[in-house]
Amino acid sequence: MAESRDADINAQRLYAEFVKGIWKENPVFVMVLGMCPMMAVTNSAINAIAMGVSTAFVLIGSSLLVSLLRNLIPREVRISTYIIIIATFVTVVDFTLQAMVPAIHKELGAFISLIVVNCLILGRQEAFASRHPTRLALADAAGMALGFAFALLCLGATREILGSGSLFGRSLFGEHYEPWVIMILPPGGFIMLGLILLFFNWMRQRKTMRPAIAAEEVRR
C-alpha cells in the first residue's frame, strides 16, 4: 500500500492536504459532490452554516476513526463499517442540534439524518482516510469540510439576499424590497448553483489559461 510513513509528514504536506479541499479540489465546485444538501438547505445563510458545521463534525470525526482503525477493518466489510461509523456521528449531531438549537433543527429537518448518505463523506473515507495516517486524514477532512461549508455559504447567502432580502435574518433593503421568492424555492437553487458553478469554473479556467494568454500577448 502506497502509504506515507508517519515520519515523512511535515507541515508542508499537512498544509497541502488541508488547502486542496478549499479550492483546488473543492467538493462542490470541482468534484460536484454532496448536491442533495447543497440544494435542500441553502435557502438561508444560517441554515447553510448549520449544515456546514454538522457535516464538518461528521466528516472529521469519521475520518479520524476510520484512519485510526484502517489496519483493523477487514477490506471486505469496510464500507459497512464506515457507514456504521458515519451514521453514529450523524445521529449524535441530530440529537445535539435538537437539544441545543431546536429552531435550526426544525428548519433542517430530515436533511440532518441524510448526512449519512452524503457521498462526500463516504468518498473521503474510501479515497483518503482509509489509506493515510491520522494527521493527514484530519487535515484532509478539515479542508474538505471547510470547502463544503464555504460552498454552502456562498449559495445560502446569495439565495437569502435575493429571495428574502435579508442576510442572517437581518433585513437588508427595507420594506419596499420585493423578494425574488423563486430564489428560495428549489428552481432558484438550481439556477443559482448553475451560476455559481459557472463563475468558479470560469475563474479556474482563467487561472490555468493565464500563462497561455500572457504568451499570446507577448507574441503580439
Binding site: S44, P74, E76, S80, A99, G163, V181
Partner: protein, 229 residues
C-alpha cells in the same frame, strides 16, 4: 483519486467470515453504546425545549396569561389536552387549544387561544409546519404580512372564513398572497378543533393550581408556568 484497490496482494490471506462478522458486530455494538449515551444526555434537554416551546406558545395565544393548567378533554376514544390560562393574579383568562390540519406540504400543527365568555379567538401560533419558504411559511410570521396578527380578536361563529380581497366581517381573515392553501389550512385547523372540542371544555375552569400536584407531565408544566409568572 477514487480508484479502489481491488487487487489483493499475493501473500495476503482473506480473513475468515468469523472475523468479518465479529468486526461488524463490534462496530454495531460500539455504535449502539455511543448512541444510547448521546440519547441519555440530550433527552432531558430536548424534552425541556419542547415543554418550553409549548409554554411560550400558550402564553402567546392568550395575551396576558402568566400560568396555565392542562385540562384533559375526552371524546370517546380521543383525548386532547387543552390549557386553562390565568393571569399573574390567578384570574381565568381562557383556554389554549391545539389544532391540526393538512397544509400545502405537511400537517400544520398550531395552538390557538379561546376566550369562552366572548366566544372569540385570542391568538394563533404555528408550532410546526413545513410550508413553502417565502410563501406558505408566512403563516408563522406576525409581521409582513400580519397574518398571525389577524387572529388576535376573531369571531369564531359561525366559522372562520378566509377571504382574498380584504377582511370585512369579524370572522374573516385575509389570505396570504400566493399561499391561499396554507391560509385556509390554518383556518380549518381552528374551525375543526372548535367544532370538535369546544363543547367538551369544562363549564367552570379548573382552579389555577389544581394540576401542579398531580400527573407527571402536567406537574412539570404547571411548575414551569409558575416560575414564568
Amino acid at each position: 483519486m477514487n480508484q479502489v484497490n481491488l487487487t489483493i496482494s499475493a501473500g495476503q490471506k482473506e480473513p475468515g467470515s468469523f472475523r468479518l462478522v465479529f468486526t461488524l458486530a463490534l462496530a454495531g455494538m460500539l455504535s449502539g453504546l455511543a448512541l444510547a449515551g448521546a440519547y441519555q444526555i440530550t433527552k432531558p434537554i430536548i424534552d425541556a425545549n419542547k415543554a418550553e416551546a409549548l409554554r411560550r406558545g400558550v402564553f402567546e395565544v392568550v395575551p396576558g396569561s402568566r400560568r396555565f393548567t392542562p385540562v384533559e378533554l375526552v371524546d370517546g376514544q380521543e383525548k386532547v389536552t387543552a390549557y386553562a390560562t390565568y393571569d399573574a393574579d390567578g384570574a381565568f383568562l381562557g383556554y389554549a387549544l391545539e389544532g391540526r390540519s393538512v397544509g400545502f406540504a405537511d400537517t400544520i400543527w398550531l395552538l390557538w387561544g379561546y376566550e369562552p365568555q366572548r366566544r372569540r379567538v385570542t391568538g394563533m401560533k404555528v408550532l410546526d409546519s413545513r410550508e413553502t419558504p417565502g410563501l406558505g411559511d408566512k403563516i408563522k410570521k406576525e409581521k409582513y404580512p400580519p397574518f398571525a396578527g389577524q387572529f388576535a380578536d376573531l369571531a369564531l361563529e359561525p366559522m372562520i372564513i378566509v377571504v382574498k380581497d380584504g377582511r370585512e366581517g369579524n370572522n374573516e381573515i385575509d389570505a396570504i398572497t400566493g399561499a391561499t392553501i396554507s391560509s385556509k389550512a390554518v383556518a380549518k385547523a381552528i374551525n375543526d378543533a372548535a367544532a370538535k372540542w369546544l363543547a367538551h371544555l369544562p363549564a367552570t375552569p379548573p382552579p389555577p393550581d389544581s394540576a401542579e400536584s398531580q400527573g407527571s407531565g402536567g406537574a412539570d408544566e404547571g411548575e414551569r408556568a409558575g416560575e414564568g409568572g
